[in-house]
């Protein structure tokens, strides 16, 4: 059976590396091929990785420093023009400040983020779900 693959990275202005290191290790530990772009990764670089790895199931982006929205600004365009086709999962600390306003998550979804996950431990299940949803949807797409 082919190894499952994901593209991992941290948003463009964000240098927080620790969770990224740990998530990469953990997913590799359960058998994933992880293309880890590391910290400070602009949307463009994620798109490039998608081109290089068309078999990637998802793009998984961390953002800790509160700049998720500005850093993912180009995501809408990248998805619209098909540069990123697979689902985008985002996690971390997604807005500035100690009291979080849920609207911050809403606007990320509007940019094209498919899933917002807070606990990395939930990632395997989320990735399974997304794959199941896609394989259910794709035959349909192929027919229409």
């Amino acid at each position: 059976m082919q190894q499952r693959k994901i593209i991992l990275g941290v948003a463009a202005s964000d240098a927080h590396a620790v969770a990224n290191h740990l998530i990469a290790h953990a997913l590799r530990g359960i058998g994933y091929t992880v293309v880890n772009l590391g910290t400070c990764t602009p949307v463009e670089e994620f798109a490039e990785a998608c081109r290089e790895h068309p078999d990637a199931e998802a793009v998984v982006i961390g953002s800790l420093n509160g700049h998720a929205h500005e850093d993912l600004r180009d995501l809408a365009a990248a998805k619209a023009e098909g540069a990123i086709r697979c689902p985008v999962v985002v996690g971390g600390n997604l807005s500035v400040g100690s009291r979080k306003d849920p609207s911050a998550l809403e606007r990320l979804r509007r940019l094209g983020v498919d899933r917002i996950v807070s606990d990395p431990a939930a990632l395997p299940a989320v990735l399974d779900e997304l794959r199941a949803a896609r394989s259910a949807a794709e035959p349909l797409l192929a027919v229409s």
């Binding site: 202005s13 240098a15 740990l22 500005e70 400040g97 100690s98």
Partner: protein, 475 residues
């Protein structure tokens, strides 16, 4: 302070980064500082050291100018810190000035710091004039030249960073030779300013990636940066060291700083030890966070630090609000109490730990300092892993080092990677970790899974100390 702030001249503020022509001359800025009517950061630090008090400084930075001014003023009115900070936003740190401007104009509250380059030096001066305490720029820029120019023009007398410590933790793809060259330019300007009569305090970011950084790595990188800075003409150097959480280790590390300065730096340079309250994963419970904040401040005092950088009980959640910041400062200030003179650390254990720290630092830095071109030697050492940090954000460090807490909680080398530590030092680290007889959770399956679990446990050390066990793992 809620709602959109109409920025005066927001259109102009975006001509970023200002060319040098727009900035006042160094001479003008030196004269401006002389006329400001406040001490420089270096003077405040010197006075703190002489009086045996630890100077106290918050982290603080918000996007909007008026909001930043209010923040500084409120902190000063209510907590009277010895120094104040402009924490710079992450876009500016990476010279993403366009993104900083766009966010500023859309909603300044979306910025995680003050975009000083975008606001410009006149506003920097306005902030400087709003408070009595000297300001420091805290950022995380591999190439801080534009920011430094605006900082000097703003009359700001302390500037954090260094070619290694503001590269590896803060960017992915900036070659170290580039960041070292950029910081050499900054340091040379400090040298020229010193000649003009203005001593700028240059703080080195020994905190690095903040999570499980072995003291000898933090201190070795600071020694290297300090030597480079001194050679470029810097006259006041603050060596920041991040709390590991282990009392003896932290006190020894702080006390080693003046000894390292004597050993490796020319005598004319003022050197201060700076302590960063715990920079890793903070407990979420307010009482727990506050216990840790006070403890950090007490350790700073016991270690003889000149300055303490505080945290707040909101650390685990996000950028703190003003009230939390004030309370963090006030709580930390209690550790300066004259009533706590009786609190002491085991002197023998500190002396022993200190010897080992000095030895490990010597193992790492002396091969570098021997070489004619220190900058080239550093870039090379990072490439080969003979200089290294854990959890690097940058490709330009190998991150082969694996840290681990020993049974007492001190940070040791599980693997020193390619660091040139002596056999003695390596054996001591091994021995201390073998003493580690922690049992339980996941100890059964060895290999990667268990290494990860151990590492996560060590990262979440204070969550365990305080029984916040529901936040204990990433897997």
């Amino acid at each position: 302070m809620s709602g959109k702030v109409v920025l005066l001249g927001a259109d102009r503020a975006g001509e970023a980064p200002h060319g040098n022509r727009a900035l006042p001359s160094l001479e003008e800025s030196v004269a401006y500082v002389a006329g400001l009517g406040k001490p420089t950061a270096a003077q405040v630090l010197q006075k703190a050291r002489e009086s045996g008090r630890v100077a106290i400084q918050p982290r603080c930075g918000v996007g909007g100018h008026e909001e930043m001014k209010a923040l500084l003023r409120d902190l000063e009115t209510e907590a009277a810190p010895d120094l104040l900070t402009l924490t710079i936003d992450s876009h500016t740190r990476l010279k993403r000035f366009e993104q900083a401007l766009r966010t500023l104009n859309r909603d300044p509250k979306d910025l995680n710091g003050y975009p000083l380059v975008t606001h410009g030096w006149q506003r920097g001066r306005d902030l400087n004039e709003s408070v009595a305490a000297p300001l420091e720029i805290r950022h995380g820029s591999p190439d801080a030249r534009a920011l430094f120019d605006v900082s000097v023009a703003s009359g700001i007398t302390s500037f954090e960073g260094g070619g290694i410590s503001y590269n590896l933790p803060y960017s992915k793809a900036v070659p170290v030779a580039e960041s070292l060259a950029a910081w050499e330019e900054v340091d040379r300007v400090c040298g020229r300013l010193a000649e003009l009569g203005l001593i700028v305090d240059r703080e080195l970011f020994g905190t690095l990636t903040a999570v499980l950084v072995p003291p000898s790595i933090s201190l070795a990188i600071s020694v290297v940066e300090a030597v480079l800075a001194a050679r470029a003409g810097v006259r006041c150097i603050s060596v920041a060291y991040p709390q590991s959480g282990h009392l003896v280790q932290d006190v020894a590390a702080l006390r080693s700083i003046p000894l390292l300065a004597r050993r490796y730096l020319p005598p004319g340079v003022q050197v201060h030890a700076v302590f960063h309250e715990f920079m890793g994963v903070f407990p979420k419970g307010r009482a727990h966070a506050e216990d840790l904040i006070f403890y950090g401040a007490l350790v700073a005092r016991l270690g003889g630090a000149s300055k303490l950088i505080t945290k707040t009980y909101q650390e685990a959640y996000g950028i703190p609000d003003t009230r939390a910041n004030i309370e963090g400062l006030r709580l930390a200030a209690r550790a300066n109490s004259p009533l706590l003179d009786f609190v002491a650390v085991d002197a023998d254990r500190v002396a022993e730990e200190l010897e080992w720290i000095l030895a490990e630092v010597a193992d790492i830095v002396e091969p570098l300092l021997e070489q004619a071109d220190l900058k080239a030697a550093v870039a090379d050492a990072l490439e080969r892993g003979t200089l290294d940090i854990p959890f690097s954000a940058s490709r330009y460090a190998k991150s082969e080092v694996i840290p681990k807490r020993d049974a007492e909680g001190a940070i040791r080398y599980l693997s020193a990677g390619s660091l040139p530590l002596s056999g003695r030092a390596l054996r001591r680290n091994d021995a201390l970790l073998r003493r580690d007889a922690r049992t339980g959770g996941g100890a059964a399956d060895p290999g990667l899974r268990s290494l990860l679990a151990d590492l996560t446990g060590d990262i979440n050390y204070f969550l365990t100390v305080f029984g916040e066990t529901d936040h204990e793992g990433t897997s």
